[in-house]
Amino acid sequence: MSTEARPLIIGSSPHIRVRQSVPDIMFHVCLALVPVVVFSVWTFGISALLLIMTTVIACVATEHVSCRIAGKATTIGDWSVTVTGLILGLTLPPATPLWMAVLGSIFGVAITKSLFGGLGYNCFNPALVGRAFLQIAFPITLTTWTPPNLVGRFASVLPSTLTMPFMRSDGEALQAYVQRALEAGGVDGWSGATPLSLWKFSETPQFEELPRLFMGSIAGSAGETATWLIILGGAYLIVRNMMNWRIPVGMLLSAFLLSGAFWLSDKSAYPSPMFMLFSGGLMFGAVFMASDMVASPMTTSGVWIYGFFIGIVTVVIRIFGALPEGVMFAILLGNAVSPLITSATQPRTYGLVRQKNG
């Protein structure tokens, strides 16, 4: 009857907790990304698989080494760096040389995350910074696309994947490889462009059909093409209360409204709002990158502002900018202003009269 054999525990209230920890959340983000990864490997072949594996391994290794250098216990067990690795791999073109992927991983994790103090202290999404670094350092490679569903994609890797570090990547070899594979599949020509650049840089704007955009049989970054699987992953996270649904909804809604206004003004020059939502990295960015908890605002109204801001900037860059795609820079800009949004939208404390400079 006595309990004295095991002393009582004393502790500060509350004595019960929600049973969902940070590693749980990060792990489920990985789970939500699995279908996207599988689809990516299915459409882009071994090259995509090698690319994603490389970024994941490189990111995890970078974090581990950074922790060791800082003299801390390793934090790779919280799954957050795995998420970074997966996302970085999925945002790169499938033909990205692996050494660049490694470089982007190291830059993203070491500079953006570890240097700022690790998980929770990064002001930008590490994967996006890694990608932005590569985009600026290697603009041609990062806009070299390969068509989906090439014949022989499971038998051989793209010629660019295994190029030596800092050697000129042989663009012609990749082109010839793609040409051969297309001919073997009975396809005649391929412009080498994504739906977005086809619209933006063709003499007369071309608009890809929506079903193909939605199902992902288009060129693009490794993980951004399968819109339907991205939505599925996002829905899973929302149902599990592991993502703030307002961020993707706000972002997609504002992009829809703004591009809709342009479309209504001139339907031959501007794409339809649905094209905007399903093309490029908008869906992937909205669901898996802008929603990054660490770099997004904390208040409900702030989260709406943040989502709307990113959506609008994305459309503005796409329509007026020099780049066909603006999601990455839009989200990074959103990350930059998010602390400001948080402090500006702090709600009124209970029982207090709102003060002007409160």
Partner: protein, 443 residues
């Protein structure tokens, strides 16, 4: 601003765990000795008026109130005073108590007190009569009830909110007293309304207790200005500030009391005691508590004499070897007890005996804050617990109070409950407040 029908914004909804809801209140056999702590309420400790070897009747006063914000104590058993000495209190400190040994030959049925006609008492006499019963807020705060009944003259109370929310998981005492003793609660409500000249009373009950809603509704006499309000179940609805928002859609001013907006909040168990004790002229000698949790063999709702040791209660209900933590009160705001040799006090609404499996508190690894904002969405006061937590880690306690409203936090525990990083936010805030108090005192 938005109005919220029948609840307050933010807050959390932990699993109910009200396992003992269907268990009728049961009397425990009288213990062979009790320790009446002289300070088990907010305010000045009572002063003992008995000494060693004094014989006391059941219900006889053993300590008197010192000043207005203080209450007397009564002996819950007939017996002999063995000593007035220091014993362990729920906070884990030594505190003065009157210890009484049960006299097996004494009459335990007869209770000290003279019945009186409450209706003939003046307002002031009624307030003194309430003080003489030794009644304090039985919901857990243990604030002397008569003090609450006498708000400043310039702040008349028009509305009484009767708190039957019982928003803490596990606890079922308020529910049981409402189901079993509705009439006496109504008597208590009417007494308080008379004493405070209040115009109406609203009985607030969460909608996970339909039986209580029904019974209280039926117990209201025809034409009385008393109504029952069903609230959407959410924690911490039982907190006064949340309750005024849920019921009246009004905020208690920061740093103020409900009486600032003409409201008085009283717990149902407190009103039941008033309804019972005042007409009979008796003192508070026992209370109903929920004993529950995975570490208890016979969980239930028990009526237990005040001053009974926790060890005796645990012997009666049976404690399992896997019990790891004993909590006085609910799991969200309750206090973990350091020993079983602590006497039952007026403010203990429950004793929870939790197993490791149930609590998962402090066992988890603490991760860095990932700014998921769950705490921001949970805080019923609309603070930013994440930011406060970061400031606390840096020791910037004054900044927390001055710029981020730390002192509006009433430690409900919502932020810590939802935190996926297991950050002990409430504990940080307690430390910060204590450090600020110390700094203030040093000035």
């Amino acid at each position: 601003m938005r109005t919220y029908t029948n609840s307050f914004p933010h807050g959390v909804h932990p699993p109910d765990c009200k396992y003992t809801a269907d268990q009728a209140i049961e009397d425990l056999p009288l213990p062979s000795e009790v320790s009446i702590l002289l300070s088990q309420h907010i305010g000045a400790p009572a002063k003992a008026i008995v000494k060693r070897r004094d014989e006391v009747m059941r219900g006889e006063p053993v300590a008197e109130a010192v000043g207005f914000v203080s209450v007397p104590m009564h002996s819950p058993i007939a017996g002999t005073v063995t000593k007035v000495d220091y014993v362990l209190n729920p906070q884990g400190l030594m505190s003065q108590a009157v210890q009484i040994k049960l006299d097996p030959d004494a009459d335990q049925e007869e209770i000290y007190g003279t019945p009186r006609d409450v209706a003939s008492l003046s307002q002031d006499e009624l307030i003194s009569a309430v003080q003489a019963t030794g009644t304090v807020g039985l919901g857990g705060a243990a604030f002397p009830t008569h003090v609450k009944m006498k708000p400043p003259a310039d702040k008349p109370v028009n509305t009484i909110i009767v708190n039957g929310c019982e928003c803490e998981p596990y606890l079922t005492t308020d529910f049981r007293v409402m189901v079993e003793d509705a009439e006496k609660i109504i008597t208590g409500i009417q007494l308080v309304m008379d004493a405070m000249k209040a115009k109406e009373a609203i009985i607030a009950i969460e909608n996970n207790k339909p039986e209580a809603l029904d019974i209280m509704e039926k117990a209201i006499p025809e034409g009385a200005p008393i109504s029952v309000r069903s609230l959407v179940t959410k924690y911490p609805q039982g907190a006064e500030k949340m309750l005024t928002r849920a019921v009246l859609h009004r905020d208690v001013p920061s740093g103020g009391l409900p009486s600032d907006i003409g409201v008085g909040c009283f717990n149902v168990a407190t009103l039941l005691q008033l309804g019972q004790l005042l007409p009979q002229g008796r003192g508070l000698i026992e209370r109903v508590i929920t004993v529950s949790g995975g570490g208890v063999e016979r969980p239930g709702n028990y009526r237990i004499p005040l001053g009974t040791s926790i060890r005796y209660i645990m012997e009666q209900v049976g404690i399992r070897p896997e019990a790891r933590k004993i909590i006085s009160g609910g799991p969200m705001m309750g206090m973990s007890l350091s020993s079983q040799d602590i006497p039952l006090t007026k403010g203990m609404s429950g004793l929870l005996v939790l197993t490791e499996e149930e609590m998962r508190d402090g066992c988890g690894t603490v991760y860095p804050c990932i700014k998921c904002a769950r705490c921001v969405d949970a805080c019923p006061i609309f603070l930013n617990p994440s930011l406060l937590g970061l400031l606390a880690r840096k020791g910037r306690y004054e900044e927390m109070a001055e710029e981020h409203h730390l002192n509006d936090c009433f430690e409900c525990g919502c932020c810590t409950y939802v935190c996926p990083s297991n950050i002990p936010l409430v504990q940080y805030f307690r430390i910060a407040k204590a450090m600020n108090r110390e700094k203030e005192a040093a000035k």
